[in-house]
Amino acid sequence: MKGDRSWWKGHRSSHRLPDACLLSFALFGSLIVVLTVLAILSLAVPEVGDIPHLLEVAAKGRIVDSILLTMGAGLNAVLILLLFGIPLAYVLARVNFRGKGIVESLVDLPLMLPHTIAGIMVYLLFMERGPLGAPLAQAGIFFEDAYAGVVVAMVFVSSPYLINSVREGFENVPLHIENVARTLGASRFQAFARVVLPLSVRHIYSGAILAWGRAIGEFAAIIMIAYYPMVISTVIYYTFTTQGIKEARSVAFVFLVVCLAVFGLLRFLTRFMGKYDDRI
């Protein structure tokens, strides 16, 4: 390395240039970033070049309905996850119990599970003859090729994102603060509701965004139980196989723009949240 360095040794700028090692690392590593940029461009450039066709695709009722369905089912899944995930995350953050490692593995399982296996599992569990699907069908709730099936698949695959993020938020609230609240007369639930929860708002919010993003992007697990109603991923795949890449590209681009816009908005809203958890 010593020899390599000579080329900039004579440099007269007051800022020393990064050394040869860093530069070659940056050059090498940037190839991955360049790949992503190229991928975006190869999707975006032809679409932006043919705005009329793009608008035509975007205005199709089928596409709009599908986007609304996907976003709505994602939101639905996140609400269900918040209800069950927040208590679970608190227990995992604050209690040490025997078998905790197993519970943690089970929580993380959908992360590592191949998506089609997840799909098979959800189908087996919620199909009309399935152990959960059968009794619920009696109650009038159907999952096969139904909205509820989309939501259930989304809940399953996105649960680790929400739980782990919320848990991290709870763990970041110092135990000391909770202890002090207890000694001042708060029951555990009061301490949780008045102190721990408000101080974790940002983590809960960003966990919800992550889970929502994962949910609306799911494909494999959803098509097993609910090919219909078509979520947008299914529409993209269906269009690709039936109408070819040009049509599919347009649908994909519309969905990408909607996704980026919504994520951008959600991230922007984060700014207006309490910033207490930055500094505790």
């Binding site: 110092p174 000391h176 603060i177 202890n179 002090v180 609240a181 207890r182 000694t183 001042l184 007369g185 708060a186 029951s187 555990r188 009061q190 008045r194 102190v195 408000p198 101080l199 309490g274 207490y276 500094r279 505790i280």
Partner: protein, 361 residues
């Protein structure tokens, strides 16, 4: 007021082992010990935040095994103050009263009064992170005291303050205890704080209570070598008891002999002779009329900081440290490199055995 009866408690890497303790009403009880010794765990056990694995805790003569922290009327203040970062000063202080369902008008009135008492009324609408350490400390104290506990637990309350603010709060704590009639349990590893505040002192090492007594007992006559080291005795000389007579023991250290008050030792015991630096007298000639506890040595270094001069001396067995008043140094013409005599009164020597006796020749 607070009784520990054989308390054992494991909590990750910290533990308490068979701690028995009695803290009376109105005491200012100090708990000292090295970090990681279990001091904070002990406080939290008093507050009800951990359940002991074994033993009983009595509070106001009642077993509190099943009393949750919120029903114990004990306030706890940590070193980091643990203010609620999302609440203003006023909301922080109101929190405890609201939890106790005090009516809103009364909350307002009591919070106003205590904020005035602590001189923080002007901070009422500030958030904790915008305040200095000293201000946070005052808010934390107000929050702890507004609920009128009769026990106040302090976990290194002064460690995060600069020396001048620390000095101020040391006096403030003494005043608060009287004003509110509190029993205070104060965890620290500062010798100075203990000297200024404590009525009684307990020493915890490795989860065990190894000594308990008045501050004089612990600081002037530490019962064990480890504690002598911890409370900052400058000279600790390892030796062996070779005789006992008339309430004194004779300790052999290398070729020298030191007399010290007998504390139940017997011949052959390994002990350390511990001597504070300011108890050692230095003179260029053998001290007249003294035959015991005289050593010879050579001044290696002298360092003056104000009225006292700290000397390091080479002696036949180990370097020793002596603090001598500047006037003495001038009178005797003491200089670095000089051969001198060291003397100290037998009553200033503490014979302290080791907590963990080691086999040696």
């Amino acid at each position: 007021m607070i009784e520990f009866d054989g308390i054992s408690l494991r909590l990750g890497e910290f533990s308490l082992r068979d701690v028995t303790l009695h803290i009376g009403t109105g005491e200012y009880f100090f708990i000292i010990g090295p970090s990681g010794a279990g001091k904070t765990v002990l406080l939290e056990a008093i507050a009800g935040l951990h359940s002991p694995d074994g033993g009983r805790i009595l509070l106001r003569q009642k077993d509190v095994r099943t009393t949750p922290p919120e029903d114990r009327r004990i306030s706890l203040m940590y070193q980091d103050y643990s203010l609620f970062p999302h609440m203003t000063v006023e909301e922080n202080i109101s929190f405890g009263l609201k939890m106790q369902q005090v009516s809103p008008e009364k909350v307002k009135e009591r919070v106003r009064r205590i904020m005035e008492r602590f001189g923080i009324a002007n901070l009422a609408n500030r958030l904790p992170r915008t305040m200095s350490g000293g201000e946070q400390q005052r808010v934390a104290l107000a929050r702890a005291l507004v609920v009128e506990p009769d026990v106040l637990l302090l976990d290194e309350p002064l460690a995060a303050l600069d020396p001048i603010t620390r000095d101020f709060f040391t006096r403030e704590l003494a005043r608060i205890r009287e004003e509110y009639g509190l029993t205070v349990v104060h965890v620290s590893h500062s010798r100075e704080e203990a000297l200024r505040l404590a009525t009684r002192v307990a020493v915890i090492i490795d989860g065990r209570l190894v000594a308990e007594g008045t501050r004089e007992e612990i600081f002037s006559a530490p019962p064990y070598r480890e504690i002598a080291r911890f409370v900052g005795m400058e000279n600790i000389l390892d030796g062996e008891v070779i005789g006992t007579a008339g309430g004194y023991v004779t300790i052999r250290i290398g070729k020298c002999r030191l007399r010290a008050p007998d504390r139940g030792l017997k011949e052959g015991d390994k002990v350390a002779a511990c001597i504070r630096a300011h108890e050692i007298r230095i003179s260029p000639t053998p001290p007249a009329g003294r035959e015991e506890n005289v050593l010879s040595g050579r001044i290696v270094s002298m360092l003056s900081d104000g009225a006292m001069v700290r000397m390091t001396l080479e002696t036949p067995f180990t370097p020793m440290i002596a603090d001598v008043h500047r006037s003495k140094v001038i009178r005797h013409g003491l200089k670095e490199g000089m051969e001198v005599f060291l003397w100290c009164p037998p009553d200033a020597v503490v014979a302290a055995p080791s907590l963990h006796p080691v086999e040696s020749s």
